[in-house]
Amino acid sequence: MMRKENMVILKKSPIAQDTIEMVLENKYISNTAVPGQFLHLQLKGHMLRRPISISQVDEHAETVTILFKVVGSGTKELASYPIGNSIDVLGPSGNGFPLEPKANSTILIIGGGIGVPPLYYLARKLKEQQVNIVSVLGFQTKESVFYEEKFAELGRTIIVTNDGSYGRKGFVTNVLDDVSSIDCYYSCGPLPMLQAITAQMAGKHGYISLEERMGCGVGACFACVIPTDDCGGYKKICKDGPVFPAQEVQLV
């Protein structure tokens, strides 16, 4: 269950272009978070909290790692916080990735840019369950690539960059055909990528993690809804998601 907690910054390191890895200490959240959940961070001078995915958890060290890209005033503020700072956080928030793979099944992980972080915690948890993991990670350019080795430790890993400056050139969807038959896929990334993937993988069992601008982050304000059908059905990304079965939501 989500709580309002203080998390102390233990480490902070640039990990790719405009991208920062931050290790936060908190007993409750590190002991309850599951892959795919997020933190909702209160940042000084900002009216709305910022959602950032949990990208790794160390229950023993009682730490949670996040990775974020500096794209606006909130992430800039967060990046400016020194080690030792305490951050007011709601978390762990939302529902994560369902983790019921059959042993020896093959799982495809498809990440795009700053959608990659939550998939790392997922991949680690999946690995514990003896499955075969293939990761396809897409980035804009060489400077924005991160966590290649970490994913490679867990299974075959293909890096794709839009401009071909690293790994294969193109989009993640260009290489999906190269991946042999899979039992399930998990994906997180920009909306156009998810649209392309869900179209290409239609019929396959899969889960996607979505983003939307949030008000409350707890399910009370209806800011973050996504339609589930054409008849007014909907889910809230902050509370019912951010992870959904690929067939369950309409990506418009």
């Binding site: 269950m1 989500m2 309002k4 209160q42 900002h46 009216m47 709305l48 909290r49 909130g74 709601l90 939307e212 601008r213 949030m214 008000g215 409350c216 982050g217 707890v218 399910g219 009370a220 304000c221 209806f222 800011a223 973050c224 809804v225 996504i226 339609p227 007014g232 909907y234 509370k239 418009v252």
Partner: protein, 303 residues
Amino acid sequence: MSLAIELPGLSLKNPIMPASGCFGFGREYSQFYDLNKLGAIVMKAATMEPRFGNPTPRVAETAAGMLNAIGLQNPGVSSIIENEVPFLASFSTPIIANIAGSTLEEYVEVAKAFNEAGDVTALELNISCPNVKEGGIQFGTDPKMAAKVTERVKKASNLPVYVKLSPNVSDIGTMAKAVELAGADGLSMINTLTGMQMHLSAKRPLLANKTGGLSGPAIKPVAIRMIYEVKKQVNIPIIGMGGVVNAEDALEFLLAGASAVAVGTANFQNPYVCIEIIEQLPKTLAAYGFNSVNDAIGKGICS
């Protein structure tokens, strides 16, 4: 220190309540604290039929505020009565139903439904939602239309009616007097100011609905001014809101003439904000020389 306050049809143990639309139907925030502690609970707006609302993005952050264009998403009054009211009725806190409509008839129907259902303590007539366009009828800016909808709703139900005024008007006093004359038991003010944010990269308004309602501390000075102005012109109590974040803000509203205070956007920053204000309020009232909430109401109005 007495925090209790009596309003027409509403006995509040304290003057603090969440503002409509910022607290859903209470379930989410009930994870954080006991809803019995609240002065009242104001539900999200109800319409006759279920509404999906506007496309996303529906919110944007602004300086000391936010824009929202939820578009009155709600499951419809019957579903609310069936699925939401019973949960809230399990607390000893008065329930205020916020009702909206695209037509006069819709307001009346929704009011009737709540009236018949029981458990709801009062109605808040949302004539000011800036995010509905159907019918093109401006209940919120035309005093005659506002009076008419008030009168019709009063007739249709036995519940006390608080009319929620829009700040997007040239003369808030005229609006307030019109609905008072039409039988309103109280006023709620202010709703959001209509605003817009441009998305520079997309070269279009950020909100899918283009415009949205501005709330948060940014609008507090407008809220205080309007309450002050209206309080001098009417004899019905005012539930004040707009940018309240702490107990000092709440006292500012009381001094300006509000008899109770609703907290909206601040819940998103701090889910505990309502009960923190309730806890702080006795100290804050005492610090400025007041013995009760009643004692402070309208005390900042000078001739």
